[in-house]
Symmetry: C2
Subunit: 143 residues, 2 copies
DNA sequence: AGAATAAAAGACCCTTATATCTTTATATTT
DNA sequence: AAATATAAAGATATAAGGGTCTTTTATTCT
């Protein structure tokens, strides 16, 4: 559905939002260790999110990645859009070039339900929602 | 979700089931043209399905791939199993190594609904179901 | 038997996703 | 100012998925 890269990106952003204290920067090493993901690869992904204005970063000692409180209002769909593009949520389940309700593949209707429920989640849930569930202890970021 | 390869496989099997007359064999060229998929690649996929005893084939003039009526009772999950393996339906949405209802990622519950609905479709619907919808003209195999 | 036909099989190639390594730029500390 | 820590940037490596090409094998027709 979404790429592994995009999953890492989402987990990274939620992690930064969780740790968000005023002006606190978190190094890529700590992020990668906490989330149990490859450090350099995570670095590239977070850099991309900086370029897309979803995160901020500073170099030098005590540098690192950080977010400000407005991140809590960001809807997940913005991260998916930045990493995979929205097209990832529209591809035909059976690999046809074109697939739509007017010209559906055999799985189209069944899958459309899922597709739109995932899309609705990405659209309507913001980072705050996910942060709260992590703080609750009802969901987990690291394996 | 499932691989493109697996989507081609499903479309190929449904196509053969549609065209199934006694002892009729269909060449890979015709199959690929009808479904608008790469011929050689489709050949490899159908060969794999022959090895997995889902299809049959014969070489030589008037050879080709074919199925018998029992194909209509095959559930789609058997094709997914043969090509991608059932693991493809169990992967964590956010790319964690382990993800379960006891140790859920932030998207786990939302995605579980989709996952199980897709699984249920694959499990419960047989080829006959899809063949009927194609014959109806309500769904389409080729783009 | 020989020619023609069609799938099987395997080697190979291209693209994308995933991941790592190296160098550079920048900020902080001393 | 110099040393140091740290991320940015970009080149490179690896693996998997997707796709093509060539040779072999089996079948049928003449």
């Amino acid at each position: 559905m979404i790429s592994k890269t995009c999953g890492y990106a989402i987990r990274g952003v939620i992690f930064l939002a969780l740790e968000n204290n005023i002006n606190k920067r978190i190094g890529i090493q700590e992020i990668a260790e906490e989330l149990k993901v490859p450090q350099q690869f995570m670095g590239k992904i977070l850099q991309e999110l900086v370029r897309k204005d979803i995160l901020k970063s500073t170099k030098g000692p005590h540098g690192g990645f950080y977010v400000n409180d407005s991140i809590l209002d960001l809807s997940l769909i913005r991260i998916v859009e930045a990493i995979d593009g929205l097209g990832v949520l529209k591809k035909c389940f059976l690999g046809r070039e074109e697939c739509s309700s007017e010209n559906p593949c055999p799985m189209h209707d069944e899958f459309e339900v899922c597709r739109s429920s995932i899309f609705e989640t990405f659209q309507s849930k913001n980072i705050r929602y996910f942060v709260e569930h992590i703080e609750d202890g009802t969901t987990f970021l690291a394996t």
